[in-house]
């Protein structure tokens, strides 16, 4: 199993405050890695660092074997921002055609290699809304347009910032099925969420709190080592048990739940 993303000692300061304190983590290719943590824990900042759009103070982020933000990655990594970044005053199809053109421009490979507009519209279930203005869509539909733009061109790594917020349970389930299907095709997926119950759909979990990695492990491994049955309980056990944000992959395995009181 190869690593799609390797983060080593990542420190990020924003507005004079350190928001990520020397993170280490990996994202495997062909797996769905869930980045779970409460609002304000640094999830979006971490994702932006992986995309190479965040100024970092120190540390190293390697994506698909090269430094994050390398020009060659712009075609290989798909990114879905938390707020849908699509044009409200264009139709679904016009949005996708534009992003497809941008991806195709200067592409050395033939355009037919990548997933096209028809393909991605179907995958996110917006086939009936192709000609609707994005402005007239619901919030959930908008975020799926944003997701569809990220699927264009078959990226090798997908970085998704809270892609399932505000979706009804049926749609959420179908999106997680889509993520699993993409992972089976070998795509690495890093999916952030503040909803702990989405952990069940991930192969790997990274728990983030206050800018530190509390734990990274396979979902089963994490529940096993903490003796819990849900990610939420595991998170609580790790935080309250003083398992400590050591910030290293596998920290969870060392994090025996001691009830030694609040860490901070």
């Amino acid at each position: 199993m190869t690593d799609a993303v390797v983060v080593e000692g990542l420190v990020v300061r924003r507005g004079g405050r350190e928001v990520l304190h020397g993170l280490d983590l990996t994202v495997a290719a062909g797996r769905v890695t869930g980045l779970l943590g409460p609002s304000g824990s640094g999830k979006t900042t971490l994702l932006r660092a992986i995309l190479g759009v965040q100024i970092v103070a120190s540390g190293r982020v390697t994506v698909l074997g090269v430094a994050a933000g390398s020009p060659g990655l712009r075609r290989r990594v798909g990114y879905v921002t938390q707020a849908p970044s699509v044009y409200d005053d264009l139709t679904v199809e016009e949005n996708l055609r534009y992003f497809a053109r941008v991806l195709r421009a200067g592409a050395r490979r033939a355009a037919s290699d990548g997933a096209g507009v028809d393909d991605v519209v179907g995958r996110v279930g917006l086939g009936d809304h192709r000609d609707d203005l994005v402005r007239h869509l619901s919030g959930g539909q908008r975020s799926r347009v944003s997701l569809a733009t990220a699927l264009l061109g078959r990226p090798e790594l997908l970085v998704l910032d809270e892609p399932t917020v505000g979706l009804d349970p049926v749609l959420r389930a179908s999106l997680w099925d889509l993520f699993a299907e993409l992972a089976r095709d070998g795509v690495g997926l890093l999916v952030s969420s503040h909803v702990m119950d989405e952990a069940d759909r991930c192969d790997e979990l990274v728990l983030l709190r206050d800018g530190d990695v509390v734990a990274q492990d396979s979902t089963a491994g994490l529940l096993g080592s903490t003796g819990t049955t849900t990610a939420e309980a595991a998170f609580l056990a790790l935080v309250q048990g003083g398992g400590g944000p050591e910030g290293r992959p596998g920290a969870a395995r060392r994090a025996a739940p001691r009830h030694g009181g609040e860490r901070r």
């Binding site: 300061r13 924003r14 507005g15 995309l51 190479g52 759009v53 965040q54 100024i55 933000g69 020009p71 712009r74 075609r75 990594v77 990114y79 921002t81 707020a83 849908p84 970044s85 699509v86 044009y87 409200d88 005053d89 264009l90 016009e94 534009y98 992003f99 053109r101 941008v102 991806l103 421009a105 200067g106 592409a107 203005l133 733009t149």
Partner: protein
């Protein structure tokens, strides 16, 4: 570059009111001015200069708001994670609004030399040319200035801050030779001065030499677009 221009046009297609305003407002203002002066001599003097002002003004506003929206909606950050070069992005906007400017300039010039009876000594086709370059100049100025606006309120305030001084110093209200020396010097480094200079030459000279003016304007366009590209940062705090 064409991808972005086509996208901006598609957005405008869904917003016919904006397009109508871009085309109609300068013509309506010119007609109003004609009426105010009853088509008399003053109108003949002022109208060519206003033909240089209106495209700059309208394109400046439209472009600065459009790119500010792109920044605040997150689409710009998303685009900068894609294989879209910054000159191609800015060039796309310049092309899209420049195309619009051609139509606007043709309509305004035809109105002036037709129904409003403006008599130019030089060939009036050159007025269209100046107006188009002038509109692209407004686009480039808007693209650059929008980088410094954090909100729509600020972007709109930049219009009086950036365009009105150029209007006051362009030589229309007071001939530039009659200005205090300092202001005369300042007017030389403002792009609108050269646009107004070119239109008045077309109005008053049989074979106007406006090549130099146009060259300066194109220089401003290229310089402002290059500065605009520098303000688009792929990596931010």
């Amino acid at each position: 570059m064409t991808a972005t221009a086509l996208r901006v046009w598609a957005q405008l297609r869904h917003d016919p009111r904006t397009v109508a305003l871009i085309f109609v407002v300068p013509c309506a203002l010119l007609a109003l001015l004609w009426w105010v002066y009853d088509g008399a001599g003053v109108f003949q003097q002022v109208a060519p200069a206003l033909l240089a002002l209106f495209p700059l003004l309208v394109m400046f506003l439209v472009t600065s708001v459009a790119t500010l929206r792109e920044r605040s909606s997150g689409t710009l950050e998303r685009l900068l994670t894609l294989p879209l070069s910054r000159p191609a992005f800015l060039g796309g906007y310049a092309l899209a609004f420049g195309g619009l400017a051609v139509v606007q300039a043709v309509l305004a010039t035809l109105l002036l030399v037709g129904p409003l009876g403006l008599e130019t000594v030089g060939p009036w086709g050159l007025l269209v040319l100046v107006a188009v370059v002038d509109a692209v100049l407004g686009t480039a100025l808007g693209l650059f200035v929008s980088a410094f606006a954090r909100s729509e309120f600020q972007a709109v305030q930049f219009m009086p801050a950036v365009v009105l001084p150029q209007f006051l110093l362009c030589g229309l209200l007071v001939p530039r030779d009659d200005m205090p020396a300092v202001l005369e010097a300042v007017s030389r480094v403002l792009p609108l001065t050269y646009a107004v200079d070119a239109t008045s030459k077309v109005a008053s000279e049989p074979s106007p030499a406006i090549g130099g003016d146009l060259l300066v304007m194109v220089g401003f366009v290229v310089g402002l677009l290059a500065l605009g590209a520098l303000t688009l940062r792929r990596r931010t705090g």
